[in-house]
């Protein structure tokens, strides 16, 4: 892999004087300030939750889901690669023999503790079967009890793929 050398800023005379660049920065800040004062409709801040975000894309890492095969059965073969890759160790799997002839092995239990999850996406990358994805677009997961944040296999299977921007 090649290494790109990035030049360090701050060595010219004007930059060393410090104040001109400060003024430059303040100019940007104040231009936004007055612009927003004149017209509040362009402010980027959302009044969440009354206002929902409209820029969630299909590659946004939301709550996980377990995918299904074409025959509508679970894709996961309980290989534990997601649980191995998980830096938060928040994936809990138990494996059993699969009897329907599609595969040899399947999970009897597959839970993700969303309170421990750091949403890094390592599980999705590790999966050799494309069985776990984070494309549900669910960015807000609110429950009243700690235990409710441990999402079980049926719930994970019930989530659907989120396509495109929310609008």
């Amino acid at each position: 892999m090649g290494i790109k050398v990035v030049p360090r800023h701050g060595s010219t005379f004007v930059e060393k004087l410090y104040l001109p660049t400060i003024a430059g920065g303040l100019k940007v800040t104040f231009s936004h300030f007055f612009q927003n004062l004149k017209d509040t409709s362009k402010i980027k801040t959302l009044s969440y939750p009354e206002q929902q975000p409209s820029d969630i894309t299909s590659r946004y890492r939301g709550v996980h889901r377990l995918t299904k095969r074409e025959d509508n059965t679970i894709s996961c073969v309980a290989c534990f690669l997601c649980a191995t890759a998980c830096p938060a160790e928040c994936i809990f799997i138990e494996a059993v023999d699969r009897e329907d002839g599609v595969e040899e092995k399947m999970p009897s239990k597959f839970s993700i503790d969303l309170l421990e999850c750091v949403f890094c996406g390592s599980c999705v990358e590790a999966c050799p079967k494309d069985a776990i994805r984070m494309d549900t677009g669910i960015f807000s997961f609110v429950k009243k009890k700690r235990e409710d944040f441990v999402v079980d296999i049926d719930t994970l299977l019930s989530y659907k793929e989120f396509k495109g921007d929310k609008s």
């Binding site: 073969v77 309980a78 290989c79 534990f80 690669l81 191995t84 160790e89 809990f92 494996a95 059993v96 023999d97 595969e103 040899e104 092995k105 050799p128 079967k129």
Partner: protein
Amino acid sequence: MVTITVDGKELKVKDDVMLIEELLANSISIPHFCYHPALGKDGNCRMCMVEIKGQKRPQIACDTPIKDGMVISTKSDSIQEVKRSILELELINHPVDCSVCDQSGECSLQNYYMDVGLYESRLSTTKVHSRKKVDLGANVVLDQERCVLCTRCVRFTKEITKTRELGILNRTDHSVIATFEDQPLTDPYAMNVVDLCPVGALTSKDFRFNKRVWFLEPEESICNRCAKACSIYVDHHKAKYEADAIFRYRPRFNPKVNGYFICDVGRLSYKIENENRLSVALINNEQNNYDETSKELKSLLAKHKSKILFLISPSLSLEEMLMIKKLEKFYDAQISGYDVNEYDKDFGDDYLKCNDLSTNRRGLNLLNIDENENILKEALSGSEIVVFIGRDDIEILDNYKNIQSQICISSSTPKNPQSYNIYLPVLTHTSKEGSYINIDGYLQFSKAKVLSQNDTKNLIEVASELLDEKVLSCEQIYKDELSKMVDNITFNEIKIQSRKLSSI
């Protein structure tokens, strides 16, 4: 000894063995499937190819005798290409179902693919399919598609167990491993083929899908199922929010005791260990706090001083036996190692199993602990309190009305806990260190220390508390007292390997 040159490095090696043995002994990586030190060469897999100067073609290291002055290359581009082609051929019909295969993580095919393979599949036709998940019996599951036909399992049943159950059926790419007319495997060493199999063709039904192997942490120990005390690895893992548990035993190579194998009964005895790890302290069959129970025990022993009989199991370690001997002196008590239960006349055979089921009966002899039945009877009639240590044969007290209290200090919860006034659990065999003498007089050290999740202590700690002494480690006890009894064999020596005692 002769000198050979391997990849430009000179090595002094033995000249009466095959090349692969010395290469592996010198930590030179040589991919191989069919060669196994216990089964010898077969020369069918062709993976161990090396280049030898002066020879026209690459040679298999497993069937090449060593000659003085050989110049060998194991890493040159041309030999790597040879190995890659052979591996490609081995893998041509392999299902590559590593994600569901229990072998992945300890699979030779996976390792060699990463070492010398790394090719794209060139197969344009469909792969040959054969039977998957064939239950061979004796806890062995066969997957014919994953097999590389190295015949290690076939040679194991032919040469080691001499049962000749497994064989190869059919020809060419329809060749499969099978038993005659699907008759189940029955020999008591059958599960060794699971360890022997370099790929995922033979897997254990007992271990099936329980744990991925890369989570397991191996600890060195010795099996406590019978007096042979084979060397084993204890593979355990503590999953998050769960107790540390043992998932399997594997044989550990020990040329003096068990070679490369262990028996199936010993291999599956890890289940007893897992059960015992859950034992809790009981007073009059009611669950109690560990420290309170141990205090209660102390006061009871003090009350009946000089009317105490310690009935010890011949499976305790030498260090533990020494501590009990100290207790004997401290409480002016009697001690007996007479035990008929740890003996099964139908268990033994002429290989690795023996009728004596205790781990350390020879330790009793070494420490002069009495094993005589008549002396035990005499001691029983003069005692008020009997402490069963590591054993649970309460029926021995049946005709003795003079016994007021029965105490059990053992890793396993008694079969009839209501018969004991106090039950104090101690750490199980794989959770404690200790030295043992096996039936052939080998002094061995068991190192496994699988963590216990509750406050259970080991027997040495319990005894030290009863003696009001500082708790000593096994190493200290060994150095202070044992070493002079066992031909001055040092602690570090038995930590590394089993040592034969001349005095026994």
